[in-house]
Symmetry: D2
Subunit: 346 residues, 4 copies
């Protein structure tokens, strides 16, 4: 094996990233080196690329970007038991400490000392990447290769939709970015009867219709609450999945839910959000559920099963594929929101 | 309105029934008279027709048969508020007492003093039928008329499948009689990833494949446990829906479930069933759930929503339609098991 | 029976109320007239008395105040079946419409067209009161009479604590007003291992310790978050029950919960509350549950069972008893917060 | 450290055991050697001692018995991170494989390849014992030392009672052996309103009353179903915890539950049990839950919290303490059932 590889590196604490040769990394006794075959761009990667506030506070350049990944195992640490060289694997991106209260109680995905692949340690936009044994997931051979790195955001979408028990229910999904789009597809495959999607970007509204939305609304130019009323009547929806982080979408998403209903929050607002708890949550007996990460690994089983059985067809959501070196094309599309999921291949 | 109507009547405590003129019934202050537009045959009706043990203990001839129904309201009792003349309605068939512990705690479907339409009071295989206000359900105009009487057994299927949280899961359904077939369709629409159906009748196995089964097995000639192993590996299934009442199917259905899994029991064995509780339930940490009736009316909302949105297509399950007077053709098909759901129209 | 009775009447749209003779009310066919034996003061009654904003928008004088009640049935409407003259009953205070989506799906306590006894119709601070058959609850004879009217707020406390599955858990309760105090007692009887209570009023902090708090903190003069850290370590609590409606208590109560934990909100803030959803709810995978009313009547069964078995001793919470005519003494105590639950007897 | 230790050894495949010197065991890289300070006798140990069928099929002499344990860490394997020498620890007894479906989905306690301490590998009735890092639990210093080894069966009791949501509910517990007794105490501390215990042994019925039963019945001489009817009326109980494994107790325990209720099964019948599924489970919409082991380690947190807070007082259940060498006294008491929990101290 050669000892240099190409990688997308955030080299300096500023906008952008470079494609350059770096050393192929070493692994520890409980780590795994994979030859990356497919990666995909997450909103987080875009935040790091454009160097927003969150990135400035969390990323230490030089840093290899990326965390959604699939690849072949080329080397395993001397204590690794779960996989062997040659296995085709993906990786969970939450790296748990193993000893906090959450880790001790089967909730490693919300570990108190959580580290994240591609955030707190070097990522996967590279020819080779190091993943942790605790995070490794063997891919089912029946899953199309391009979808293997998508299991991670698919897991987010599943976690968001599951609490809604959406079978036969009326559903609102606010935000149709990549995970929002996957959530629409998941809500559809889980039997949601009527799905309204709110999304300001036309490209994404069109995609939303393609993957399972029954109705779309542009919240920048239309009144979401009126659309809810027109479609679902005064009852409102049974469940809202909030995927945008937009304060108005959060507030409207909660208001749109019928008394006794459920709201999942996955989108991350970058400021505090003011809520009418009395009228919108308490008198209405609403459950508000914060969603982050994926259960390790019950959610991965569901994700894998949906893909390998072809129940879930995410191919319309994969709107672009680029060679890894062209990552900046992907970042540009992410800035414009004119994309679904973007695959990068080393 | 004339004062006689045609009806299917179990006239004597013996095999069979007759089609004859009877008085159009009177209604009480909380009852509703409907002009029947569609009815369907349930296994219970067939039990009454063939006069099995259960029927001999529960039915008092002369008795108008049938309980799955849809029709137009033609008269309402003087306290009825929920519907008006002209409304097109269906009926729940569990008639709760309203004052027992179960009724007091939002579980009227398992009322301690439960009466059942078409069992403990006259039924709906007739031109007109009396239903209770507490049971009435206004039909959504977007639901195809032939499916409106099917909402009742669809509700059974939904109750059976819901506890399995089947989205992305491996599912076994034992028994593909009419409700078993509907359950397959429901499991599929709720996102079950891989559905194995066990059913001895070829006609019904073929229907099972049509409505969503991935695999079928004939338990009379094939080894169900081996099929489970071949398809799902040593893990087994995540969930079994037992729809047959057959003791071997119940035992195998429980054994087929992976540790930590769930089994819904809807099929009614007509004898006690011997179970290896230690190895099959306790060491495996299995949940066994007895299912009967439908939640009034949260399950009806789900059923109606699935039909009106066309997410659920039950048309392949409706294999025969007859005029009410030809009800014996339907009973014959039920005896042979060569049918799905059979519609009778006055 | 005489035809005049004494009652506490909000006569004019202004601060205060009067004790005066009014007509004994008539009942409709599904209503019940009771001779009031015990009533208790709720925060809502105090709001009506002091004529706060909420009261100004919701109450139409002249209006008989009060809704927590127990009494003897003296007359029943001609359709009433659940009780007879002579029965000793209490009343649910949520009056459901019976036909909305919530009513149709076993959630009448959050009926879309909800009316509330003593708010939208005349109340129970009187010698006689009208209650609805749908709301009537027969009291168990083993419950001390003074506690029978307290079952209604006890039901609120049970609804608040139940979602926390508090057995063996670390619990924070913010606010020790009357329902907060009952919640402490309920959390204790349900097995909470360690209960911290935050309450600015000394009288109520002392009561909190008496009914089951392990620790109390005065949030006006002490740092609640530090107390949480001192007592529970960096893990925080498993569950917060927010009973104050105070925005800071709400925010701190959410922050105090460990990742994966649960927060019940019962206290009603009178303004919007700004929350750090990203860090406090989403990244921490918190469930926030709005609580209002009581399940009809599964919660009443629990409340009644806890009282009749003496598992729950609410007597320390009943700090004052007055004849009904002295209701203003009770209102004064409520203004000062120097009380637990106050009983009024006609 | 010396290299010999005293231990209770099942030396030959026959009734009994011997107290003898054996080598102090070696540890592997992920194992821990503890100096045993307290152990307790479980029914399983008694099965091994009397050499019943189950033992003959599962135990390979020579074998050190025992699995409930607390002790001081004296040596750790070179990869062990969770504890240090000197820590006072207990041990989970389910040893999971780490790679099966159950292990992968946060259910290691029902691992498909489960090994059990003191069954599949040498146990803890000895001066020193080897435990696995994956199983180690640091004891809270506030827990009385004699109770530290009891956390393991306490965990079983918690798992059994938790699904019943027993706060304010009517509860039947069938069987008051050691875990049954602990379950009574747990049901009581979790707020069960009315607890009926069925147990044929008088010594244990008396203990049952001491730890929280409201009523006891001797099923050998009294009619359990009549007792249920007398105490709970025709409603029956809300929840049964079956702790005996006795077929009649299982059947009666299920029949005693009200429609919609829950039954936990922990007792292990040594033969198949015949059940009237139709009338007792299906028509009644009962949930039957098989319980084994303890969640790792959320249940341990609850157990530890209940003990350290003194909410749960298990001291009346510890009826005997012997030096380890007198283990046969304990086995004799277990044979006669005239004991609660028996502590053995090396």
């Amino acid at each position: 094996m050669k000892n240099k590889m190409e990688a997308v590196v955030k080299e300096k604490p500023e906008y952008g990233a470079v494609f350059k040769k770096v050393d192929i990394p070493e692994i520890g006794p409980e780590q795994i080196l994979i030859k990356v075959e497919s990666t995909s761009i997450c909103g987080t990667d875009h935040h790091i690329y454009v160097w927003n506030n969150w990135a400035q506070n969390n990323i230490k350049p030089p840093h290899i970007m990326g965390h959604e990944v699939a690849g072949k195992v080329v080397k395993i640490g001397n204590r690794v038991k779960k996989v062997q060289e040659g296995d085709f694997v993906s990786s969970e991106t939450h790296i748990p400490c193993g000893h906090c209260y959450q880790c001790q109680t089967s909730q490693p995905h919300i570990c108190k000392n959580l580290k994240i692949l591609g955030v707190h340690q070097n990522g996967v936009f590279a020819e080779y990447a190091v993943i942790e044994e605790v995070d490794v997931w063997k891919n089912d051979p029946n899953i199309p290769k391009d979808l293997t790195s998508i299991q991670e955001p698919l897991g987010n979408a599943i976690e968001t939709i599951l609490p809604g028990n959406v079978g036969g229910k009326d559903v609102l999904i606010t935000g149709a970015g990549p995970i929002g789009l996957i959530s629409i597809a998941v809500a559809r495959v889980f039997g949601a009867a009527n799905i309204l999607v709110s999304e300001p970007n036309k490209y994404r509204r069109d995609l939303a219709l393609k993957v399972g939305a029954d109705h779309v609304v542009d919240p920048a130019n239309e009144d979401l609450m009126r659309a809810v009323d027109d479609i679902f009547g005064s009852k409102g929806v049974d469940f809202t999945a909030e995927m945008s982080g937009n304060p108005k979408a959060i507030r409207d998403g909660i208001k749109a839910v019928t008394a006794g209903g459920i709201v999942s929050l996955l989108g991350l607002p970058d400021q505090e959000v003011s809520l009418d708890l009395t009228n919108d949550i308490i008198f209405k007996n609403i459950k508000l559920i914060g969603v982050t990460g994926r259960k390790m690994f019950s959610t991965w089983h569901i994700a894998s099963n949906l893909l390998k059985s072809k129940r879930l067809d995410l191919s319309p959501i994969i709107t672009h594929k680029f060679p890894l070196k062209d990552f900046e094309k992907g970042m540009k599309l992410m800035t414009e929101n004119n994309c679904g999921k973007i695959i990068l291949k080393p």
